[in-house]
Amino acid sequence: MRTRSGWALAVLGVIVAVAGAAIMVVLGPDSRVTTGPHAVETDAIAVVTAPKVVRWADVQVDVLAEVPVRKPIFIGVANAVDVQDFVGRTQRLEVTSFDRPWTIRTRDVEGLPNLPGAPTALDWWLDSSAGLGGASISTRLPDQTVSVAILSVGSSNLSGLQVTVAYGVTGGFAKGIALLLLGAALVWLGVLLQRRMRRADGVDDLGEEIVYVYVDEHGVEHEISAEEAADLEVVEEVEVHDADEPPPPAAAAEPAPEPEPAPEVDDAEEVVVYVYVDDDGVEHEISADELAEFEVVDDDEEEGR
Protein backbone atom coordinates (compact mmCIF):
# COMPACT_ATOMS: atom_id res chain seq x y z
CA MET A 1 0.00 0.00 0.00
CA ARG A 2 2.77 2.39 0.97
CA THR A 3 4.61 1.45 -2.18
CA ARG A 4 1.55 2.53 -4.13
CA SER A 5 1.58 5.82 -2.21
CA GLY A 6 5.14 6.32 -3.36
CA TRP A 7 4.11 5.73 -6.94
CA ALA A 8 1.13 8.07 -6.59
CA LEU A 9 3.32 10.76 -5.11
CA ALA A 10 5.81 10.40 -7.94
CA VAL A 11 3.08 10.58 -10.59
CA LEU A 12 1.57 13.62 -8.87
CA GLY A 13 4.98 15.18 -8.83
CA VAL A 14 5.36 14.67 -12.56
CA ILE A 15 1.95 16.25 -13.18
CA VAL A 16 2.74 19.25 -10.98
CA ALA A 17 6.15 19.67 -12.59
CA VAL A 18 4.65 19.53 -16.08
CA ALA A 19 2.02 22.10 -15.03
CA GLY A 20 4.73 24.38 -13.70
CA ALA A 21 6.73 24.04 -16.89
CA ALA A 22 3.62 24.74 -18.95
CA ILE A 23 2.93 27.93 -16.98
CA MET A 24 6.50 29.05 -17.54
CA VAL A 25 6.27 28.39 -21.27
CA VAL A 26 2.83 30.02 -21.73
CA LEU A 27 3.40 33.14 -19.62
CA GLY A 28 7.06 33.68 -20.31
CA PRO A 29 9.45 35.62 -18.10
CA ASP A 30 7.10 38.68 -17.95
CA SER A 31 4.31 36.44 -16.58
CA ARG A 32 1.67 37.55 -19.04
CA VAL A 33 0.15 37.06 -22.47
CA THR A 34 -0.27 40.13 -24.65
CA THR A 35 -2.72 40.58 -27.50
CA GLY A 36 -3.30 43.60 -29.68
CA PRO A 37 -3.59 46.34 -30.57
CA HIS A 38 -7.09 45.57 -31.82
CA ALA A 39 -9.26 48.13 -33.55
CA VAL A 40 -12.68 48.72 -31.99
CA GLU A 41 -15.11 50.27 -34.42
CA THR A 42 -17.28 52.84 -32.67
CA ASP A 43 -18.16 56.51 -32.69
CA ALA A 44 -19.69 56.41 -29.21
CA ILE A 45 -18.20 58.10 -26.19
CA ALA A 46 -18.11 54.99 -24.03
CA VAL A 47 -17.05 51.37 -24.47
CA VAL A 48 -17.90 49.18 -21.50
CA THR A 49 -17.95 45.49 -20.73
CA ALA A 50 -21.33 44.08 -19.72
CA PRO A 51 -21.54 42.96 -16.08
CA LYS A 52 -20.93 39.24 -16.67
CA VAL A 53 -18.17 39.47 -19.26
CA VAL A 54 -15.25 39.66 -16.85
CA ARG A 55 -15.50 36.29 -15.12
CA TRP A 56 -12.03 35.85 -13.68
CA ALA A 57 -10.58 36.94 -10.37
CA ASP A 58 -6.98 37.36 -9.24
CA VAL A 59 -5.80 37.72 -12.83
CA GLN A 60 -3.38 40.54 -13.54
CA VAL A 61 -4.82 42.56 -16.42
CA ASP A 62 -3.19 45.40 -18.28
CA VAL A 63 -5.34 47.36 -20.72
CA LEU A 64 -4.04 50.07 -23.02
CA ALA A 65 -6.57 52.18 -24.91
CA GLU A 66 -5.32 54.45 -27.66
CA VAL A 67 -7.11 57.02 -29.79
CA PRO A 68 -5.71 59.12 -32.62
CA VAL A 69 -4.80 62.82 -32.64
CA ARG A 70 -4.20 62.98 -28.91
CA LYS A 71 -7.86 62.92 -28.01
CA PRO A 72 -8.48 62.82 -24.24
CA ILE A 73 -9.38 59.35 -23.06
CA PHE A 74 -10.16 57.67 -19.75
CA ILE A 75 -9.98 54.00 -18.80
CA GLY A 76 -11.13 52.48 -15.54
CA VAL A 77 -12.27 49.28 -13.88
CA ALA A 78 -14.91 49.29 -11.16
CA ASN A 79 -17.73 47.30 -9.64
CA ALA A 80 -20.32 46.71 -12.34
CA VAL A 81 -23.04 48.34 -10.17
CA ASP A 82 -21.13 51.63 -10.31
CA VAL A 83 -20.23 51.44 -14.01
CA GLN A 84 -23.73 50.45 -15.12
CA ASP A 85 -25.25 53.31 -13.14
CA PHE A 86 -22.72 55.78 -14.50
CA VAL A 87 -23.10 54.93 -18.20
CA GLY A 88 -26.69 53.67 -17.98
CA ARG A 89 -28.18 56.63 -19.87
CA THR A 90 -25.25 57.20 -22.20
CA GLN A 91 -24.85 56.13 -25.82
CA ARG A 92 -22.24 53.38 -25.70
CA LEU A 93 -20.73 50.28 -27.23
CA GLU A 94 -21.25 47.39 -24.85
CA VAL A 95 -18.96 44.37 -25.01
CA THR A 96 -21.29 41.44 -24.41
CA SER A 97 -18.72 38.63 -24.58
CA PHE A 98 -14.98 38.22 -24.59
CA ASP A 99 -12.94 35.12 -25.35
CA ARG A 100 -9.19 34.80 -25.15
CA PRO A 101 -7.04 35.87 -26.70
CA TRP A 102 -9.28 38.43 -28.45
CA THR A 103 -12.73 37.53 -29.67
CA ILE A 104 -15.38 40.05 -28.71
CA ARG A 105 -19.05 40.57 -29.37
CA THR A 106 -20.53 44.00 -29.04
CA ARG A 107 -23.85 45.82 -29.26
CA ASP A 108 -24.68 49.47 -29.66
CA VAL A 109 -26.79 51.01 -26.91
CA GLU A 110 -28.63 54.23 -27.60
CA GLY A 111 -28.54 57.05 -25.11
CA LEU A 112 -27.42 60.55 -24.32
CA PRO A 113 -24.35 61.84 -26.17
CA ASN A 114 -22.60 62.75 -22.96
CA LEU A 115 -21.63 61.27 -19.59
CA PRO A 116 -23.38 62.40 -16.37
CA GLY A 117 -20.11 63.76 -15.03
CA ALA A 118 -16.37 63.69 -15.30
CA PRO A 119 -15.16 60.13 -14.70
CA THR A 120 -11.95 61.46 -13.20
CA ALA A 121 -13.93 63.01 -10.33
CA LEU A 122 -15.37 59.72 -9.09
CA ASP A 123 -13.99 57.81 -6.14
CA TRP A 124 -15.30 54.31 -6.82
CA TRP A 125 -12.88 53.29 -9.59
CA LEU A 126 -10.76 50.37 -8.44
CA ASP A 127 -8.12 51.47 -10.92
CA SER A 128 -8.23 54.24 -13.50
CA SER A 129 -6.12 56.40 -15.71
CA ALA A 130 -6.61 59.30 -18.09
CA GLY A 131 -4.43 60.74 -20.82
CA LEU A 132 -4.17 62.38 -24.22
CA GLY A 133 -4.12 59.87 -27.05
CA GLY A 134 -3.93 56.92 -24.70
CA ALA A 135 -4.44 55.65 -21.19
CA SER A 136 -3.67 52.37 -19.50
CA ILE A 137 -4.43 50.50 -16.32
CA SER A 138 -2.71 47.59 -14.66
CA THR A 139 -4.83 45.88 -12.08
CA ARG A 140 -5.52 42.55 -10.49
CA LEU A 141 -9.15 41.58 -11.01
CA PRO A 142 -10.93 41.51 -7.64
CA ASP A 143 -13.34 38.86 -6.41
CA GLN A 144 -16.41 40.89 -7.38
CA THR A 145 -18.40 41.58 -10.51
CA VAL A 146 -16.54 44.30 -12.37
CA SER A 147 -16.76 46.17 -15.65
CA VAL A 148 -14.04 47.83 -17.67
CA ALA A 149 -14.93 51.22 -19.11
CA ILE A 150 -13.15 53.21 -21.80
CA LEU A 151 -14.60 56.70 -21.87
CA SER A 152 -14.09 59.73 -23.98
CA VAL A 153 -13.38 62.86 -21.98
CA GLY A 154 -14.72 66.18 -23.17
CA SER A 155 -16.47 66.66 -26.50
CA SER A 156 -14.60 64.05 -28.55
CA ASN A 157 -15.58 60.44 -29.18
CA LEU A 158 -13.78 57.11 -29.33
CA SER A 159 -13.49 56.74 -33.12
CA GLY A 160 -10.19 55.13 -34.07
CA LEU A 161 -9.97 53.33 -30.74
CA GLN A 162 -7.37 50.58 -30.46
CA VAL A 163 -7.12 48.30 -27.47
CA THR A 164 -4.21 46.18 -26.29
CA VAL A 165 -4.80 43.66 -23.54
CA ALA A 166 -2.27 41.71 -21.51
CA TYR A 167 -3.29 39.21 -18.90
CA GLY A 168 -1.40 36.92 -16.66
CA VAL A 169 -0.58 36.11 -13.10
CA THR A 170 1.46 38.33 -10.86
CA GLY A 171 4.77 36.52 -10.47
CA GLY A 172 3.42 33.75 -12.71
CA PHE A 173 6.80 32.75 -14.06
CA ALA A 174 8.19 32.44 -10.54
CA LYS A 175 5.14 30.43 -9.56
CA GLY A 176 5.77 28.14 -12.53
CA ILE A 177 9.30 27.60 -11.30
CA ALA A 178 7.94 26.95 -7.83
CA LEU A 179 5.53 24.35 -9.21
CA LEU A 180 8.31 22.74 -11.19
CA LEU A 181 10.44 22.48 -8.09
CA LEU A 182 7.52 21.23 -6.08
CA GLY A 183 6.86 18.53 -8.69
CA ALA A 184 10.50 17.48 -8.69
CA ALA A 185 10.45 17.33 -4.91
CA LEU A 186 7.34 15.17 -4.97
CA VAL A 187 8.93 12.79 -7.46
CA TRP A 188 12.01 12.55 -5.29
CA LEU A 189 9.87 12.00 -2.23
CA GLY A 190 7.92 9.26 -4.02
CA VAL A 191 11.06 7.42 -5.07
CA LEU A 192 12.49 7.77 -1.60
CA LEU A 193 9.34 6.38 -0.09
CA GLN A 194 9.38 3.39 -2.45
CA ARG A 195 12.96 2.52 -1.59
CA ARG A 196 12.29 2.71 2.10
CA MET A 197 9.24 0.50 1.84
CA ARG A 198 11.17 -2.03 -0.23
CA ARG A 199 13.81 -2.29 2.44
CA ALA A 200 11.31 -2.44 5.26
CA ASP A 201 8.96 -4.97 3.70
CA GLY A 202 11.57 -7.51 2.51
CA VAL A 203 11.96 -9.52 -0.73
CA ASP A 204 8.66 -11.44 -0.71
CA ASP A 205 6.72 -8.22 -0.53
CA LEU A 206 8.50 -7.02 -3.62
CA GLY A 207 6.78 -9.74 -5.60
CA GLU A 208 9.85 -11.87 -6.46
CA GLU A 209 9.02 -15.24 -7.87
CA ILE A 210 9.75 -18.34 -5.76
CA VAL A 211 10.44 -21.45 -7.78
CA TYR A 212 10.27 -24.87 -6.16
CA VAL A 213 12.52 -27.48 -7.76
CA TYR A 214 12.70 -31.23 -7.18
CA VAL A 215 16.01 -32.96 -8.12
CA ASP A 216 15.59 -36.61 -9.00
CA GLU A 217 18.13 -39.37 -8.47
CA HIS A 218 19.75 -38.56 -11.85
CA GLY A 219 20.35 -34.99 -10.83
CA VAL A 220 17.66 -33.71 -13.19
CA GLU A 221 15.66 -30.72 -11.84
CA HIS A 222 11.86 -30.74 -12.08
CA GLU A 223 9.80 -27.62 -11.33
CA ILE A 224 6.98 -28.35 -8.90
CA SER A 225 4.19 -26.35 -7.30
CA ALA A 226 4.28 -24.90 -3.78
CA GLU A 227 1.69 -27.50 -2.68
CA GLU A 228 3.87 -30.36 -3.98
CA ALA A 229 6.91 -28.79 -2.36
CA ALA A 230 5.17 -28.86 1.01
CA ASP A 231 5.15 -32.69 0.90
CA LEU A 232 8.89 -32.89 0.21
CA GLU A 233 11.93 -32.28 2.34
CA VAL A 234 13.71 -28.97 1.72
CA VAL A 235 17.35 -29.75 1.04
CA GLU A 236 18.60 -26.39 -0.13
CA GLU A 237 17.39 -22.78 -0.73
CA VAL A 238 19.09 -20.87 -3.50
CA GLU A 239 18.62 -17.10 -4.08
CA VAL A 240 18.92 -16.05 -7.70
CA HIS A 241 19.22 -12.37 -8.71
CA ASP A 242 18.48 -10.69 -11.96
CA ALA A 243 21.50 -9.75 -14.00
CA ASP A 244 20.72 -6.01 -13.75
CA GLU A 245 20.08 -6.16 -10.03
CA PRO A 246 23.02 -5.80 -7.72
CA PRO A 247 23.77 -8.86 -5.62
CA PRO A 248 22.94 -8.73 -1.95
CA PRO A 249 25.67 -7.63 0.46
CA ALA A 250 28.49 -10.13 0.98
CA ALA A 251 27.66 -10.51 4.65
CA ALA A 252 24.24 -11.85 3.76
CA ALA A 253 25.58 -14.34 1.17
CA GLU A 254 25.55 -17.95 2.10
CA PRO A 255 28.55 -20.19 1.32
CA ALA A 256 28.32 -22.02 -1.97
CA PRO A 257 27.08 -25.59 -1.50
CA GLU A 258 29.62 -28.43 -1.65
CA PRO A 259 29.54 -30.36 -4.96
CA GLU A 260 27.70 -33.58 -4.54
CA PRO A 261 29.07 -36.85 -5.90
CA ALA A 262 28.13 -37.26 -9.48
CA PRO A 263 25.55 -39.92 -10.00
CA GLU A 264 26.39 -42.88 -12.17
CA VAL A 265 25.46 -42.39 -15.75
CA ASP A 266 24.93 -45.40 -17.96
CA ASP A 267 23.85 -43.34 -20.81
CA ALA A 268 24.58 -45.18 -24.14
CA GLU A 269 25.66 -42.00 -25.79
CA GLU A 270 28.39 -41.31 -23.29
CA VAL A 271 31.77 -40.56 -24.97
CA VAL A 272 34.79 -42.68 -23.88
CA VAL A 273 38.16 -41.00 -24.23
CA TYR A 274 41.28 -43.12 -24.65
CA VAL A 275 44.57 -41.67 -23.56
CA TYR A 276 48.11 -42.88 -24.24
CA VAL A 277 50.79 -41.81 -21.70
CA ASP A 278 54.26 -41.57 -23.18
CA ASP A 279 57.55 -42.06 -21.43
CA ASP A 280 57.64 -38.48 -20.26
CA GLY A 281 54.25 -38.89 -18.61
CA VAL A 282 52.50 -36.69 -21.17
CA GLU A 283 49.00 -37.79 -22.11
CA HIS A 284 47.94 -38.07 -25.75
CA GLU A 285 44.39 -38.65 -26.82
CA ILE A 286 43.93 -41.63 -29.22
CA SER A 287 41.00 -43.11 -31.10
CA ALA A 288 39.33 -46.41 -30.40
CA ASP A 289 40.86 -47.84 -33.57
CA GLU A 290 44.38 -46.99 -32.39
CA LEU A 291 43.67 -48.54 -29.02
CA ALA A 292 44.55 -52.04 -30.26
CA GLU A 293 48.19 -50.98 -30.70
CA PHE A 294 48.48 -50.16 -26.99
CA GLU A 295 48.30 -52.05 -23.78
CA VAL A 296 45.40 -51.13 -21.64
CA VAL A 297 46.73 -50.17 -18.25
CA ASP A 298 43.64 -48.76 -16.51
CA ASP A 299 39.87 -49.22 -17.32
CA ASP A 300 38.56 -46.66 -14.89
CA GLU A 301 36.36 -44.20 -16.63
CA GLU A 302 37.15 -40.58 -16.13
CA GLU A 303 34.33 -38.20 -16.51
CA GLY A 304 34.99 -35.19 -18.59
CA ARG A 305 37.84 -36.61 -20.58
Partner: protein, 317 residues
Protein backbone atom coordinates in the same frame (compact mmCIF):
# COMPACT_ATOMS: atom_id res chain seq x y z
CA UNK B 1 14.28 15.00 4.59
CA UNK B 2 13.82 18.15 6.62
CA UNK B 3 15.26 20.23 3.80
CA UNK B 4 12.85 18.59 1.40
CA UNK B 5 9.89 19.47 3.63
CA UNK B 6 11.03 23.08 3.82
CA UNK B 7 11.40 23.21 0.02
CA UNK B 8 7.89 21.82 -0.47
CA UNK B 9 6.44 24.30 2.02
CA UNK B 10 8.15 27.23 0.30
CA UNK B 11 7.01 26.07 -3.13
CA UNK B 12 3.43 25.71 -1.93
CA UNK B 13 3.50 29.17 -0.36
CA UNK B 14 4.86 30.72 -3.54
CA UNK B 15 2.56 28.89 -5.91
CA UNK B 16 -0.58 28.91 -3.80
CA UNK B 17 -1.16 32.60 -3.15
CA UNK B 18 -3.78 34.42 -5.25
CA UNK B 19 -4.47 31.68 -7.73
CA UNK B 20 -6.51 32.99 -10.68
CA UNK B 21 -9.94 31.45 -10.76
CA UNK B 22 -13.18 31.76 -12.63
CA UNK B 23 -15.95 33.27 -10.53
CA UNK B 24 -19.14 31.25 -10.17
CA UNK B 25 -21.23 34.03 -8.68
CA UNK B 26 -21.57 36.86 -11.19
CA UNK B 27 -24.42 38.55 -9.37
CA UNK B 28 -24.55 42.30 -9.81
CA UNK B 29 -24.02 43.35 -6.21
CA UNK B 30 -21.97 45.83 -4.26
CA UNK B 31 -21.35 46.52 -0.60
CA UNK B 32 -22.52 50.08 0.01
CA UNK B 33 -19.16 51.33 1.22
CA UNK B 34 -15.80 50.08 2.38
CA UNK B 35 -14.68 50.82 5.92
CA UNK B 36 -12.13 53.39 4.78
CA UNK B 37 -14.78 55.06 2.64
CA UNK B 38 -17.11 55.35 5.67
CA UNK B 39 -14.34 57.06 7.62
CA UNK B 40 -13.76 59.53 4.79
CA UNK B 41 -17.48 60.28 4.47
CA UNK B 42 -17.86 60.97 8.20
CA UNK B 43 -14.71 63.10 8.33
CA UNK B 44 -15.92 65.20 5.40
CA UNK B 45 -19.36 65.58 6.97
CA UNK B 46 -17.93 66.81 10.28
CA UNK B 47 -15.62 69.25 8.55
CA UNK B 48 -18.40 70.81 6.47
CA UNK B 49 -20.78 70.94 9.43
CA UNK B 50 -18.13 72.62 11.57
CA UNK B 51 -17.67 75.27 8.87
CA UNK B 52 -21.43 75.82 8.64
CA UNK B 53 -21.70 76.23 12.41
CA UNK B 54 -18.82 78.68 12.48
CA UNK B 55 -20.39 80.74 9.70
CA UNK B 56 -23.92 80.28 11.10
CA UNK B 57 -24.86 79.53 7.51
CA UNK B 58 -26.70 76.36 6.47
CA UNK B 59 -25.65 76.60 2.81
CA UNK B 60 -22.52 74.45 3.09
CA UNK B 61 -24.67 71.73 4.63
CA UNK B 62 -26.33 71.14 1.27
CA UNK B 63 -23.11 69.50 0.09
CA UNK B 64 -23.26 66.86 2.84
CA UNK B 65 -26.95 66.62 3.77
CA UNK B 66 -30.21 66.15 1.93
CA UNK B 67 -33.90 65.57 2.49
CA UNK B 68 -35.49 65.84 5.87
CA UNK B 69 -32.26 66.17 7.81
CA UNK B 70 -31.17 69.12 5.66
CA UNK B 71 -34.58 70.72 6.13
CA UNK B 72 -34.42 70.27 9.89
CA UNK B 73 -30.86 71.60 10.13
CA UNK B 74 -31.62 74.52 7.81
CA UNK B 75 -34.61 75.36 9.97
CA UNK B 76 -32.46 75.15 13.06
CA UNK B 77 -29.85 77.47 11.49
CA UNK B 78 -32.59 79.87 10.46
CA UNK B 79 -33.88 79.99 14.00
CA UNK B 80 -30.36 80.67 15.27
CA UNK B 81 -29.84 83.42 12.71
CA UNK B 82 -33.13 85.15 13.50
CA UNK B 83 -32.61 84.88 17.20
CA UNK B 84 -28.89 85.74 16.89
CA UNK B 85 -27.99 82.58 18.77
CA UNK B 86 -24.98 80.31 18.41
CA UNK B 87 -25.71 77.03 16.65
CA UNK B 88 -25.10 73.94 18.69
CA UNK B 89 -21.85 72.49 17.42
CA UNK B 90 -20.70 68.91 17.24
CA UNK B 91 -18.41 68.23 20.12
CA UNK B 92 -14.93 66.95 19.45
CA UNK B 93 -15.69 63.97 21.62
CA UNK B 94 -17.28 61.85 18.89
CA UNK B 95 -16.77 58.15 18.56
CA UNK B 96 -17.83 55.92 15.68
CA UNK B 97 -19.25 52.88 17.45
CA UNK B 98 -20.86 50.89 14.65
CA UNK B 99 -21.21 50.80 10.88
CA UNK B 100 -23.83 48.76 9.06
CA UNK B 101 -23.30 48.40 5.32
CA UNK B 102 -25.93 46.53 3.33
CA UNK B 103 -25.40 45.21 -0.22
CA UNK B 104 -27.13 46.59 -3.27
CA UNK B 105 -27.61 45.55 -6.87
CA UNK B 106 -28.34 49.12 -7.99
CA UNK B 107 -28.30 52.69 -6.79
CA UNK B 108 -29.14 54.34 -4.45
CA UNK B 109 -26.69 52.96 -1.92
CA UNK B 110 -26.82 53.72 1.81
CA UNK B 111 -25.18 52.73 5.05
CA UNK B 112 -25.77 53.38 8.73
CA UNK B 113 -23.16 54.81 11.10
CA UNK B 114 -23.66 55.05 14.85
CA UNK B 115 -21.75 57.94 16.38
CA UNK B 116 -21.57 58.44 20.13
CA UNK B 117 -21.34 61.96 21.50
CA UNK B 118 -20.25 61.33 25.06
CA UNK B 119 -20.39 65.03 26.03
CA UNK B 120 -24.07 65.38 25.05
CA UNK B 121 -24.88 61.83 26.15
CA UNK B 122 -26.49 60.82 22.87
CA UNK B 123 -25.97 58.36 20.05
CA UNK B 124 -26.61 59.57 16.52
CA UNK B 125 -27.81 56.79 14.26
CA UNK B 126 -27.00 58.33 10.90
CA UNK B 127 -27.92 57.21 7.41
CA UNK B 128 -25.71 58.28 4.52
CA UNK B 129 -27.03 57.80 1.01
CA UNK B 130 -25.51 57.99 -2.44
CA UNK B 131 -28.37 58.45 -4.84
CA UNK B 132 -26.34 57.76 -7.98
CA UNK B 133 -22.80 56.91 -8.98
CA UNK B 134 -22.07 60.53 -9.85
CA UNK B 135 -23.36 61.98 -6.57
CA UNK B 136 -21.54 62.36 -3.26
CA UNK B 137 -22.54 60.65 -0.02
CA UNK B 138 -25.16 62.75 1.80
CA UNK B 139 -26.63 62.48 5.27
CA UNK B 140 -30.33 61.73 4.97
CA UNK B 141 -31.36 60.75 8.49
CA UNK B 142 -29.90 61.32 11.92
CA UNK B 143 -32.19 60.31 14.78
CA UNK B 144 -30.64 60.61 18.23
CA UNK B 145 -31.05 58.13 21.05
CA UNK B 146 -30.04 58.50 24.65
CA UNK B 147 -26.64 57.02 25.41
CA UNK B 148 -28.22 54.37 27.62
CA UNK B 149 -30.70 53.28 24.94
CA UNK B 150 -29.79 49.93 23.46
CA UNK B 151 -30.08 49.77 19.70
CA UNK B 152 -31.11 46.24 18.62
CA UNK B 153 -28.45 44.08 17.03
CA UNK B 154 -28.55 44.01 13.24
CA UNK B 155 -28.67 40.73 11.35
CA UNK B 156 -25.89 40.04 8.83
CA UNK B 157 -25.58 37.75 5.84
CA UNK B 158 -22.25 37.21 4.08
CA UNK B 159 -20.75 40.03 6.09
CA UNK B 160 -23.36 42.61 5.10
CA UNK B 161 -26.28 44.04 7.03
CA UNK B 162 -29.62 42.65 5.89
CA UNK B 163 -32.18 45.13 4.58
CA UNK B 164 -35.93 44.92 5.02
CA UNK B 165 -38.37 46.08 2.39
CA UNK B 166 -40.64 48.89 3.52
CA UNK B 167 -43.68 46.71 2.97
CA UNK B 168 -42.16 43.44 4.15
CA UNK B 169 -43.95 42.46 7.35
CA UNK B 170 -42.82 38.83 7.48
CA UNK B 171 -42.03 37.77 11.04
CA UNK B 172 -43.31 41.02 12.55
CA UNK B 173 -46.62 42.41 13.73
CA UNK B 174 -46.52 44.83 10.78
CA UNK B 175 -44.23 46.05 8.03
CA UNK B 176 -42.01 49.13 8.56
CA UNK B 177 -44.32 51.21 6.37
CA UNK B 178 -47.42 50.01 8.23
CA UNK B 179 -45.67 50.74 11.52
CA UNK B 180 -44.82 54.27 10.38
CA UNK B 181 -48.41 54.90 9.29
CA UNK B 182 -49.81 53.46 12.53
CA UNK B 183 -47.35 55.50 14.58
CA UNK B 184 -48.39 58.72 12.81
CA UNK B 185 -52.05 57.84 13.33
CA UNK B 186 -51.52 57.37 17.07
CA UNK B 187 -49.62 60.67 17.30
CA UNK B 188 -52.50 62.43 15.54
CA UNK B 189 -55.20 60.80 17.62
CA UNK B 190 -54.59 58.94 20.87
CA UNK B 191 -57.91 57.14 20.38
CA UNK B 192 -57.10 55.90 16.89
CA UNK B 193 -57.66 52.16 16.29
CA UNK B 194 -53.90 51.75 15.80
CA UNK B 195 -53.31 52.80 19.43
CA UNK B 196 -53.69 49.19 20.53
CA UNK B 197 -50.90 48.03 18.23
CA UNK B 198 -48.29 50.75 18.91
CA UNK B 199 -46.37 51.17 22.17
CA UNK B 200 -47.07 54.32 24.17
CA UNK B 201 -43.46 55.49 24.24
CA UNK B 202 -41.81 58.66 25.55
CA UNK B 203 -41.90 60.44 22.17
CA UNK B 204 -45.64 59.97 21.88
CA UNK B 205 -46.13 61.23 25.43
CA UNK B 206 -43.88 64.25 24.80
CA UNK B 207 -45.77 65.19 21.63
CA UNK B 208 -49.12 64.82 23.37
CA UNK B 209 -47.99 67.15 26.14
CA UNK B 210 -47.02 69.79 23.57
CA UNK B 211 -50.34 69.36 21.80
CA UNK B 212 -52.27 69.70 25.03
CA UNK B 213 -50.37 72.93 25.84
CA UNK B 214 -51.27 74.40 22.44
CA UNK B 215 -54.90 73.37 22.78
CA UNK B 216 -55.04 75.14 26.12
CA UNK B 217 -54.37 78.53 24.49
CA UNK B 218 -57.32 80.85 24.96
CA UNK B 219 -59.17 82.13 21.88
CA UNK B 220 -57.13 79.87 19.64
CA UNK B 221 -58.28 76.83 17.71
CA UNK B 222 -55.43 74.44 17.45
CA UNK B 223 -55.25 71.51 15.02
CA UNK B 224 -52.44 69.08 14.45
CA UNK B 225 -51.85 66.49 11.74
CA UNK B 226 -49.19 63.82 11.39
CA UNK B 227 -48.19 62.12 8.19
CA UNK B 228 -45.66 59.36 7.66
CA UNK B 229 -43.45 59.66 4.60
CA UNK B 230 -42.35 56.62 2.61
CA UNK B 231 -39.92 54.45 4.53
CA UNK B 232 -36.67 54.19 2.60
CA UNK B 233 -34.28 52.70 5.12
CA UNK B 234 -34.91 49.63 7.26
CA UNK B 235 -32.54 46.96 8.55
CA UNK B 236 -33.35 43.49 9.81
CA UNK B 237 -32.66 43.01 13.50
CA UNK B 238 -31.28 39.74 14.85
CA UNK B 239 -34.65 38.91 16.47
CA UNK B 240 -36.34 38.97 13.07
CA UNK B 241 -37.73 42.46 13.52
CA UNK B 242 -36.79 45.69 11.79
CA UNK B 243 -35.10 48.96 12.62
CA UNK B 244 -36.76 51.58 10.43
CA UNK B 245 -35.89 55.20 9.83
CA UNK B 246 -39.22 56.97 9.65
CA UNK B 247 -39.79 60.60 8.72
CA UNK B 248 -42.98 62.15 10.07
CA UNK B 249 -44.37 65.49 9.01
CA UNK B 250 -46.26 67.37 11.66
CA UNK B 251 -48.41 70.36 10.82
CA UNK B 252 -49.64 72.65 13.59
CA UNK B 253 -52.38 75.04 12.55
CA UNK B 254 -53.46 77.94 14.74
CA UNK B 255 -56.66 79.81 14.10
CA UNK B 256 -57.34 82.86 16.21
CA UNK B 257 -60.41 84.98 16.53
CA UNK B 258 -60.59 88.22 14.60
CA UNK B 259 -58.69 91.05 16.18
CA UNK B 260 -56.45 88.78 18.18
CA UNK B 261 -52.76 87.96 17.65
CA UNK B 262 -50.94 85.00 19.07
CA UNK B 263 -47.26 85.41 19.82
CA UNK B 264 -44.64 83.08 21.16
CA UNK B 265 -42.01 83.56 23.83
CA UNK B 266 -38.64 85.07 22.94
CA UNK B 267 -36.11 82.51 21.80
CA UNK B 268 -38.62 79.88 20.74
CA UNK B 269 -38.46 78.42 17.19
CA UNK B 270 -42.07 79.49 16.68
CA UNK B 271 -41.13 83.05 17.48
CA UNK B 272 -38.28 82.88 14.96
CA UNK B 273 -40.54 81.69 12.12
CA UNK B 274 -43.61 83.72 13.10
CA UNK B 275 -42.01 86.78 14.59
CA UNK B 276 -45.13 88.91 14.01
CA UNK B 277 -47.33 86.28 15.58
CA UNK B 278 -50.47 84.85 14.04
CA UNK B 279 -53.47 86.90 13.21
CA UNK B 280 -56.27 84.91 11.65
CA UNK B 281 -54.49 81.63 11.02
CA UNK B 282 -50.98 80.38 10.76
CA UNK B 283 -49.16 77.14 10.24
CA UNK B 284 -45.93 75.68 11.48
CA UNK B 285 -44.51 72.62 9.78
CA UNK B 286 -42.17 70.23 11.56
CA UNK B 287 -40.24 67.21 10.46
CA UNK B 288 -39.36 64.44 12.90
CA UNK B 289 -37.04 61.61 12.05
CA UNK B 290 -37.90 58.68 14.28
CA UNK B 291 -35.87 55.55 14.79
CA UNK B 292 -38.68 53.04 14.95
CA UNK B 293 -38.09 49.52 16.19
CA UNK B 294 -40.53 46.85 15.05
CA UNK B 295 -39.73 43.78 17.17
CA UNK B 296 -39.76 40.29 15.72
CA UNK B 297 -42.92 38.31 16.45
CA UNK B 298 -45.95 40.17 17.71
CA UNK B 299 -44.20 43.00 19.59
CA UNK B 300 -45.48 46.56 19.27
CA UNK B 301 -43.45 49.14 17.34
CA UNK B 302 -41.79 51.77 19.48
CA UNK B 303 -39.52 54.76 18.94
CA UNK B 304 -35.94 54.50 20.19
CA UNK B 305 -34.94 58.03 19.27
CA UNK B 306 -35.81 61.05 17.17
CA UNK B 307 -34.42 64.19 15.59
CA UNK B 308 -36.66 66.97 14.49
CA UNK B 309 -37.59 70.60 14.37
CA UNK B 310 -39.59 73.27 12.70
CA UNK B 311 -38.83 73.58 9.00
CA UNK B 312 -41.22 76.27 7.83
CA UNK B 313 -43.77 78.74 9.06
CA UNK B 314 -46.70 80.47 7.41
CA UNK B 315 -48.41 83.26 9.24
CA UNK B 316 -51.33 83.11 6.81
CA UNK B 317 -53.92 85.80 7.03
Amino acid sequence: MRRLAVAIACSLALAGCAVPHQRDDLTLVKSAAREAEVGDVLARYREVRRSAVELLDPKPLSTVETGAVLAIDSGSFEVSQRLAQQQKSDTADLELTDVETPRFGRYPLWFVAVVRDTALGVNRVQVFERSSSGEPWLLTASPETLAETTVPEIRHADGAAVRVGARDGVGMSMSPQEAATAYAAVLADPDAPEATSVADDSFIRQMRATTDANRALQDVDFAQTWEAQDVQYALRTSDGGALAFVTLQRTDTYTVDDGLTVTWPEGSPQQAFLSEGISGSGTLTYLHQVLLYVPGGSGEPRALGQYGGVVSGDSGS
